[in-house]
């Protein structure tokens, strides 16, 4: 243990050296995280093993076999396709809708502030509970949305229980929950833009669509990029909404990465395949999150410079 600091000899009592102090302060947090790193490393090992909970005696290393099998496994390609489709659809819709709402609410006044607080409510709803709410609304027997569909002349619109519309349904729930997040980010972004370019454009009588494409959008790009990356990372890992709504069904229509891994682990008890799936998902999110964090830190520095 490092003993008393020597630069202040008049202080007699024990003092923690300046070099040890930061580690001491962050140590508990670090230990907690190491406790999380251990299961992570275990998962890496699992992914390299032939390991089924139902056949523990047959457990052995098969090295890359779980991964190699994926190449010829249609279920894996389905998982990849479903996950990417889900992430693409949700983030695209949320971005467009969120940008639109942020532009509508841009001006600071009491009504707009009230509406933006109200719109945060879906974001405060647990995604799993949001899925249940929509499940009640899309119930074929009494669901209000099923009733609206019949009013529009669509008979037997089965929402999440029909393979044709299951993806649409969960995407709507995701859009309902997460659009407010993008909205609030972009609203903060829009309101932080310097007013001078807009004043100059207004003085010169520049048309508003031109202002939007040439001034607003380019200045908003860092915010759009941050919001998009953040949502893609979360959306490709979506579990709560899909599991609470359909548990990956009907059939394999919605078996995204985490749902497929969960079902592999608990239903078919194929730990090896489950872990390998999650490792691939982790690799995807690791790359994305590194880009995200760098982008975010740059944005943060810039914000602080402006302040």
């Amino acid at each position: 243990m490092t003993t008393a600091a020597t630069d202040q000899p008049r202080r007699r009592r024990f003092r923690v050296s300046r070099r040890v102090l930061p580690y001491l302060l962050s140590l508990p947090a670090l230990l907690t995280c190491i406790g999380i790193l251990i299961p992570f490393l275990t998962a890496v090992i699992y992914s390299l093993q032939r390991y089924r909970l139902s056949q523990p005696w047959a457990r052995q290393f098969n090295w890359g076999e779980n991964y190699l099998n994926f190449f010829t496994d249609p279920a894996f390609w389905n998982t990849l396709k479903v996950s990417v489709t889900y992430a693409f659809l949700t983030v695209t819709v949320e971005l467009l809708l969120g940008l639109g709402i942020a532009l509508l609410l841009q001006k600071r006044n009491r009504t707009n502030n009230f509406i933006s607080i109200m719109l945060l409510m879906p974001l405060m709803t647990a995604p799993a509970l949001a899925a249940l709410m929509w499940k009640l609304m899309t119930n074929p027997g009494f669901g209000i949305l099923s009733y609206f569909a019949t009013l529009l002349g669509i008979q037997d619109f089965n929402w999440a229980s029909d393979p044709q519309t299951a993806m649409l349904t969960v995407v709507i729930v995701d859009v309902w929950v997460y659009t407010p997040f993008i909205m609030i980010l972009l609203l903060a972004g829009l309101r932080s833009l310097p007013p001078q370019p807009f004043e100059a454009a207004a003085l010169d009588g520049v048309p508003r669509w031109f202002v939007f494409w040439r001034i607003t959008l380019p200045m908003l790009t860092p915010f759009l990029l941050t919001a998009t990356l953040f949502r893609v990372i979360e959306s490709i890992q979506q579990f709560d909404i899909i599991y609470a709504m359909t548990q990956g069904g009907p059939g394999d229509t919605l078996t995204v990465f985490q749902v497929e891994a969960y079902l592999n682990f608990f239903q078919s008890t194929n730990v090896g395949r489950s872990a390998a799936l999650l490792m691939i998902l982790w690799a995807i999110t690791y790359v994305l999150s590194n880009i995200f964090i760098k982008n975010w830190l740059r944005l943060r520095e810039k914000q602080r410079g402006n302040a």
């Binding site: 947090a29 509508l104 995604p127 799993a128 579990f239 590194n290 964090i293």
Partner: protein
Amino acid sequence: METTSPVERLLRGIAITLVCLFFMFPIVWIVLMSFQTNETILRVPPSVIFAPTLENYTALITGKLETAAGTLDIDFMGNLWNSLFLSTASVAVGLVLGVPAAYAFARLKFRGSEDIAFTLLSFRFAPPLLVLLPLTIYFQQLGLANTYGGLIWVYQLIVLPLILWIVRGYFEDIPADIEYAYRIAGHDFWSTFRRIALPLAGPGIAAAGLLSFIFAWNNFVFALVLASADKQPVTVGALAFVTASGIQYGQVAAGIVLSIAPTFALALYAQRYLVEGLSLGAVKG
């Protein structure tokens, strides 16, 4: 300054109305449903005119559900309590561990500090099941399976990175000179931290605490994998409840209302911190 034509104002009005309708309707509808009996819920066509009843709520609070097959015991209040306890305890632990660490990262640049902060943050983006599935096996061996302690520890996975990064941003925004002046006046490190740094970062700590409470409350997958019925929070409990209660839809709706009411109330009460935390947490740091 901008000239808006009546047509444009009308279009804006319609757009805002549609947006509010889409985002508010589900909440309003579920609240309405929670005050109805099965007969009025199952009416065709649906109607908003009904005699409101508190039956669903009393059934949930007393834990006795009347179903076609007889009385069913359900411990939904237990789920609510679990949610409250798990979220509060996780945030408390997260603050005790996270705030000093955030201070260390912000103020005392040390070897490897950036790398460590970076790694901690990237935990937030890793797939939770990757950690949870091996943990189910470890927890069995350690005797932590289905204990509050084990769950609170795992909840740090969401709570800690959030607190660390939001609070760190706040500490960095405080000019270090104030603290130096206090130190020169002869106070030691701990009292400087306690009397100067902590109060100044107060709003950031509040925002981080609030946001991580909501995240913890809304979490689903941790408890789904690691807790059995008696330790489950409302998010997991409500799902089990749907299958258990058969066709008592009003009670399911009432259960959902009770589970989302606390986060809504908290969000409305502390909206300033919330917006700040959300945009800081994701943009400003």
